[in-house]
């Protein structure tokens, strides 16, 4: 706090140069050339055929959010000056649902410089720049929203009607609402540096509310790297079956989404070794809250034999943390 006061006073006493006025306009103007409008394949049920991408490399490499509209030979990027250029996907980050595209034509392309890793601060100002609702055409400027970096968090996000988890990693949330079409746009700071790439409007499974988020640019560095080197895919991760925990949750007859009470613990199983007991209520798997049996079982499937999992459980009036080390599933498997 004391440090903050000193820094603040320093800032307040600093002389004000005339050209520093209207910083938001200045930053927006400076960032526009690096934000391109995308037009792709249409005809997919209610999904927009347009989007945004942000240039991150002088060779015309831009990042955008994964979308079916990108999967076409006729993908076009509309540059700042209205020029239409061919573009194609050159690398993918399936976990974060982000892709890198290469825009054809002579460079060097304008592009945004990233912030330093770990530099983002909750409560700092951010500008979200994207072609929301395709309001901009040709050389028209995309839409700019001013807001805060509202939170840095891991979310249980899901997309559209499917119940599948989209991404569990770190995301930036913002109170500058992101709209359809903005996905792939830029989140920049007051120096015009790139904090992250705007994601699609997603729903938080926990609160069933839509959230506006961006994927931190530092987490996308490997994607940019692969795009530059021309390696489209990540090294394939070994598919492993979920590990065994040995917890049998109590299934209520009438309840549609019962909480995860332990009914039985398999003898000698990782749960038994960790000291889990009948009637314990499982609250969390790692950091993720599991309000229902279904959520608990789904979450446990993400861990493999040998993985450590910390379960937060309520036993009577106390809350405990128990560490399980999963082992290999037995023949026949687990529920």
């Amino acid at each position: 706090m004391r440090l903050a006061v000193v820094v603040l006073l320093g800032l307040l006493l600093a002389p004000v140069a005339a050209e520093e006025r209207d910083v938001v306009r200045e930053v927006a103007e400076r960032s526009f050339p690096s934000v391109v409008k995308l037009h792709g394949a249409s005809g997919f049920a209610r999904l927009p055929s347009y989007g945004t991408a942000v240039l991150v490399h002088p060779d015309g490499i831009a990042l955008t959010a994964r979308s079916v509209m990108l999967e076409t030979e006729s993908l076009r990027a509309v540059l700042h000056d209205g020029t239409r250029r061919k573009a194609r996907i050159v690398a993918r980050d399936d976990e974060r649902e982000m892709v890198a595209i290469r825009i054809e034509g002579p460079g060097p392309f304008p592009h945004l410089k990233p912030i330093e890793p770990g530099e983002a601060r909750v409560g700092q100002w951010v500008l979200s720049i994207g072609n929301a609702f395709r309001l901009a055409d040709g050389d028209e400027r995309p839409s700019v929203n001013l807001g805060l970096l509202a939170a840095v968090t891991r979310l249980d996000l899901r997309l559209g009607l499917s119940d599948r988890t989209v991404y569990r990693g770190r995301v930036y949330l913002t109170d500058a609402n992101v709209n359809p079409g903005s996905a792939g746009g830029a989140m920049v700071d007051l120096d015009g540096r790139l904090l992250g790439v705007l994601g699609r409007v997603l729903e938080s499974r926990a609160t069933r509310t839509l959230v506006s988020h961006a994927i931190p640019i530092e987490d996308l560095a490997p994607l940019i790297d692969r795009a530059v080197k021309g390696e489209p895919h990540e090294a394939r991760r070994e598919e492993r079956p979920p590990g065994r925990h040995g917890i049998r949750p109590f299934r209520f007859g009438l309840h549609r989404s019962p909480p995860a009470y332990v009914d039985r613990v398999d003898g000698g199983s990782p749960a038994a070794k960790a000291g889990l007991r009948k009637n314990d209520l499982i609250l969390r798997v790692g950091e993720v809250t599991v309000p229902t049996i279904r959520a608990f079982l789904r979450e446990m499937k993400r861990f493999h034999a040998g993985d450590e999992v910390v379960l937060t459980v309520k036993r009577g009036t106390t809350v405990l943390k128990l560490k399980l080390v999963l082992d290999a599933p037995r023949k026949g498997g687990e529920r």
């Binding site: 927009p48 009607l161 609250l283 106390t318």
Partner: protein, 367 residues
């Protein structure tokens, strides 16, 4: 007050043409304010219970086409997932949003700012202000400083803070105070985003003082209030509005909005609140009020409009009394009335009938 000085400096700046340093100073002041209140902000999670928030019909446009899904998933309304709470006493009383408990959960877990998770017990609920009172077994908890209600001004900066979606560092969203004394005098209105994740959390000023606890409120019921999350119309109930009912909430009371049973002219009037209808069997009819009377005073305070009467009723909950003074012709009458819970089915007063025709007009002529 160091931060007060900073805030003053910031507010004196020219809006719309800020320098980088001015904007940075504002965000630094905001972060310091959040840091001050953060220890008092908790995560509230519920387990078990029966979901009662129904799936809503999908939204269609005027040609009957379904609205595009990227904007809004059809058929689903926000649910009471992890939400927030604000510690109000060092011995573990916590204010949260009543919306968090509509499912009547069997287990409530509160996670403090230091990461401790504690089982919480649900005590009373004030459904008039949408507030619920929780208790955890803890001592020496930090409590927020409340901004004095008379200092809260339309246009001042306000930030909504919550822990529904984050652990360590709370989520913060900025806006201004849009109005005071909204929803019949119950709440402060803000354009800072509010959603189920920060219901129960604090709305703070730039000194980190509590303007109020963020609560979904609407004249058209809880569902409407929750559905308008993140809309730029949010509400926070000042602690000063909760304090009068705190002892009842600690005793586990379920408090309901108050009802008098009169329809009044809500437009501009020559004096007071002219009565347009009196519901038989209501407190108003019991006190002897009749159609055509003009209510002049409530609890010794002169009424300038019909709305003032609705505000006065809104500040009360069912079971509380108020003293009314009214004029009938040349005579004046006075009576103490005990307000009741709004009956399940009330015959429509002329004012209500009007409202049905034009739902968008936020009139509330009958209370």
């Amino acid at each position: 007050m160091r931060w007060g000085t900073v805030a003053l400096l910031l507010l004196s700046g020219v809006a719309g043409a800020e320098t980088r340093d001015e904007m940075r100073a504002l965000s630094a002041a905001l972060r310091a304010a959040v840091e001050r209140v953060a220890p008092c902000v908790v995560t509230v999670e519920t387990f078990g219970g029966i979901p009662v928030v129904k799936n809503l019909p999908e939204r269609k446009d005027d040609q009957g086409r379904r609205l595009p899904s990227p904007l809004r998933r059809p058929g689903v309304s926000p649910g009471p997932g992890p939400t927030s709470g604000t510690v109000i006493s060092s011995d573990g009383w916590i204010v949260a949003s009543a919306f968090a408990f509509v499912d009547e959960p069997t287990t409530i877990i509160v996670t403090m700012s230091d990461g401790r998770s504690l089982p919480a017990k649900l005590f009373g609920r004030d459904l008039s202000r949408g507030v619920a009172l929780l208790k955890v077994e803890a001592k020496g908890l930090p409590v927020p400083e409340a901004a004095p209600p008379e200092e809260i001004r339309v246009g001042q900066w306000a930030a909504s803070v919550g822990r529904g979606l984050t652990g360590e560092s709370p989520m913060v969203q900025i806006g201004i105070v849009s109005a005071v004394d909204r929803i019949s005098g119950r709440a402060v209105q803000t354009d800072a985003l509010t959603s189920p994740a920060n219901f129960g959390g604090p709305l703070i000023d730039l000194r980190g003082r509590l303007i109020g606890v963020i609560i979904p409120l609407s004249r058209r019921g809880l569902e409407a209030a929750v559905r308008s999350y993140d809309s730029g119309i949010g509400f926070a109930v000042p602690l000063a509005r909760i304090t009068p009912v705190l002892s009842r909430l600690k005793a586990g009371a379920m408090l309901h909005p108050a009802y008098l049973g009169v329809g009044v002219v809500t437009g501009s009037t020559e004096e007071g609140a002219p009565v347009t209808s009196v519901l038989p069997g209501s407190p108003a009819s019991g006190a002897g009020l009749q159609k055509g009377d003009v209510i002049l005073e409530v609890d010794g305070e002169k009424l300038l409009t019909g709305f003032a009467l609705l505000d006065a009723i809104g500040r009360h909950v069912a079971g509380e009394s108020m003293r009314l003074r009214w004029r009938r012709g040349e005579e004046t009458h006075e009576a103490e009335v005990t307000l009741v819970r709004r009956p399940e089915k009330t015959p429509k007063s002329p004012v209500e009938a009007e409202e049905d025709e034009d739902e968008k007009k936020e009139k509330d002529g009958d209370d």
